[in-house]
């Protein structure tokens, strides 16, 4: 069994909220925001794993944990077999070359005072990916690989469109020749037609360079397009995971069902789900006891006050719900 590129093993992360000085003196414990709770999954070589969820579900925190920008409070993160929590210095540099991120906002992800060429050349030179004499040529090659002409190198980000900036961001992260690319809502801010271009670009790059990808998005269609497997997150918990076709065809968790049902389909004849999801997600500082979804779940019962177990359906498909089997048997949305 080939070693997975990325292993998230029981990872949790919380953030402490500031408290008033009086409360601190009174010895009251700090309130915590549970951003990520006991998440577990793995990404293999050349595999694209999708992570879907709405705002506040912890997917962005998880992305930063996976890249070593944050340290987990519990659990282990292994990149190419090595626990990244223990890395520093030389090991950390290797991690930086091995895993990179493409950001959501094409307008904020590039330094406005740096030309495109300088932005791409910087990591090339810093990590000595190529000899100094070849940096310019490599920059041009990278630009061409993402579909931009060499003249783009002398431009500033403000002169480019959103799609072009996103391509520059991709080229920059590819400069260090990573094995894993984390895309955090990388296409969400783009127009529909540009989005399709960048999706194809990412897919081609993945194939050509043998990249693994952690693709984070709230858009199920995009995940279905690119990813082989998907994980669904809610309030910091991974509630369902499995092959994309399986999960979308026969979701086994009520939240996944609700999510799929809520997405407006570009088809006027598509039926609307009978029961929409009501209410708002609870605050991450006050995650409900037991199943985090129970406060909004149409199928909630008293047993949901206890943490639901993982019910396995084979082929890597599982869901964390007491009633996963019944939910799954409801079939397609």
């Amino acid at each position: 069994m080939p070693e997975p590129v990325l292993e998230i093993d029981g990872v949790s992360k919380h953030f402490a909220l500031r408290r008033a000085p009086l409360a601190a003196l009174a010895g009251k414990p700090r309130r915590r925001v549970q951003a990520v709770a006991d998440v577990e999954f793995a990404i293999g070589t050349r595999e694209c794993f999708g992570l879907v969820g709405e705002s506040g579900c912890g997917k962005s925190t998880l992305a930063r944990l996976a890249l070593g920008l944050l340290r987990p409070d519990a659990g282990h993160i292994r990149f190419q077999g090595e626990d990244i929590g223990a890395l520093s210095g030389h090991g950390l540099r290797a991690l930086r070359r091995g895993a990179q991120m493409v950001f959501q906002d094409p307008y904020a992800s590039l330094n406005p005072r740096m030309t495109v060429g300088a932005a791409i050349a910087e990591p090339l030179a810093w990590h000595k990916v190529v000899p100094p004499a070849d940096v310019k040529a490599e920059t041009r090659r990278l630009l061409s690989e993402v579909g931009l002409g060499p003249e783009t190198a002398s431009r500033y980000p403000r002169e480019l469109s959103g799609g072009q900036r996103q391509r520059v961001g991709i080229a920059r992260s590819l400069a260090v020749r990573p094995a894993l690319l984390v895309a955090d809502e990388a296409v969400s801010a783009l127009d529909v037609s540009v989005r399709a271009q960048v999706l194809n670009l990412l897919a081609d790059l993945g194939e050509r360079r043998g990249l693994s990808m952690l693709f984070i998005s709230h858009d199920l269609g995009v995940i279905a397009y690119l990813c082989a497997r998907v994980g669904v997150m809610y309030l910091g918990h991974l509630v369902e995971s499995g092959p994309v076709a399986e999960v979308f065809r026969a979701p086994a968790h009520p939240y996944t069902r609700a999510l799929i049902g809520a997405i407006p389909k570009p088809d006027p004849a598509a039926p609307h789900p009978a029961r929409p999801l009501e209410g708002e997600p609870p605050s991450a500082a006050a995650v409900p006891e037991g199943c985090p979804f129970r406060t909004r779940c149409p199928s909630a019962r008293s047993i949901c006050m206890t943490m639901p177990p993982r019910i396995d359906f084979g082929a890597g498909h599982w869901a964390a719900c007491h009633f996963a089997t019944e939910i799954r048997n409801q079939g397609a949305i």
Binding site: L69, R93, R96, M101, D105, N111, P112, H127, R155, R158
Partner: protein, 298 residues
């Protein structure tokens, strides 16, 4: 009759027209033109500097006394009149130009560098550094600026050099606040995160990525701070705590002319006018700079 959709084009961006950026609803963003105030202000400042350098070379000494011609009103021989010691006011004003330009520079530059550096570090690293810097700011800000400066000069002794030290000791706080606020904003932006993610060390992220984006606000502030510096220098000169006689610093000239303001108002009027004109030049330049450096939004 289906459309033959084209095979994926290798370089779709090659089809864009011209390569100019997408215009916003506010108007097309073309090549950036230099704002008018900036150009006018810059030319005025260049003229001032030329005057400051060339003037002394062309004119006589500002200290030559000629008691026979004291307190003369403006005339052809003495376009700005003479003062009580018979010295030509025009000559003195022009000789003083370089002094006041220096005052403008030296009251601002040390404060700018010290303050911006501390603000950048405080904003980026947070923690102890930020706490220490910000508490120092709080202490400095608790006292009225002018009172502290005068107090320090009184301790160190009068003179321009000591004035510069006094201003630097107190003036850095504004720059620290500005750059800290800007740094706090900038370090959250994705490009700063991307730089760290690419493995660049803190010092590189600070210098190459954050600093160029964070410093414009401080620069804009500095351009108007210069005016305040000039006023301060002249005020202290007027009080006898800044430049010392017989230096032709404008504040000093105004002070000298103060006792004669009813008989010979031109002694104080012309250097006063010069201060105002220099201030306007800096003001125009600063406004223009602010317009130019205003953060580009999409």
């Amino acid at each position: 009759m289906s459309a033959t959709t084209p095979a994926e084009v290798k370089r779709p961006e090659a089809m864009e027209a011209g390569g100019t950026s997408i215009p916003s609803a506010d108007g097309a963003i073309g090549r950036r033109k230099l704002p008018r105030n900036l150009v006018i202000g810059a030319w005025l400042l260049i003229a001032w500097m030329a005057l400051a350098v060339a003037g002394p070379l062309l004119l006589g000494s500002p200290t030559t006394m000629d008691l026979l011609h004291s307190l003369r009103p403006p005339s052809l021989a003495f376009p700005f009149g003479t003062d009580n010691l018979g010295r030509g006011v025009l000559t003195r004003v022009i000789w003083g130009a370089h002094l006041d330009l220096e005052i403008g520079f030296f009251t601002v530059a040390p404060a700018f560098f010290i303050g911006s550096t501390l603000g950048l570090l405080a904003g980026y690293f947070g923690g102890v550094i930020e706490t220490v810097v910000m508490r120092l700011v709080d202490i400095a800000v608790a006292f009225p600026f002018l009172v502290i400066v005068i107090a320090i000069v009184a301790v160190l002794g009068p003179g321009l050099g000591n004035m510069y030290i006094a201003v630097a000791m107190v003036g850095w706080v504004s720059y620290a606040r500005i750059t800290r606020a800007e740094t706090l904003l900038a370090k959250r932006l994705e490009y700063a995160e991307a730089a760290r993610l690419l493995g660049l060390p803190d010092r590189r992220v600070l210098l190459r990525h954050l600093l160029p984006n964070v410093i414009p606000q401080a620069v804009i502030y500095a351009s108007s701070d210069v005016i305040l510096g000039i006023f301060l220098g002249s005020s202290l000169g007027f009080l006898g705590l800044g430049a010392q006689p017989p230096s032709p610093e404008w504040g000093l000239i105004i002070a000298d002319g103060y006792s004669f303001v009813d008989r010979a108002p031109w002694i104080s009027a012309f250097p006063g006018l010069a201060i105002v004109l220099l201030a306007i030049s800096f003001s125009l330049f600063g406004d223009g700079l602010a317009d130019l450096l205003r953060p580009e939004t999409r």
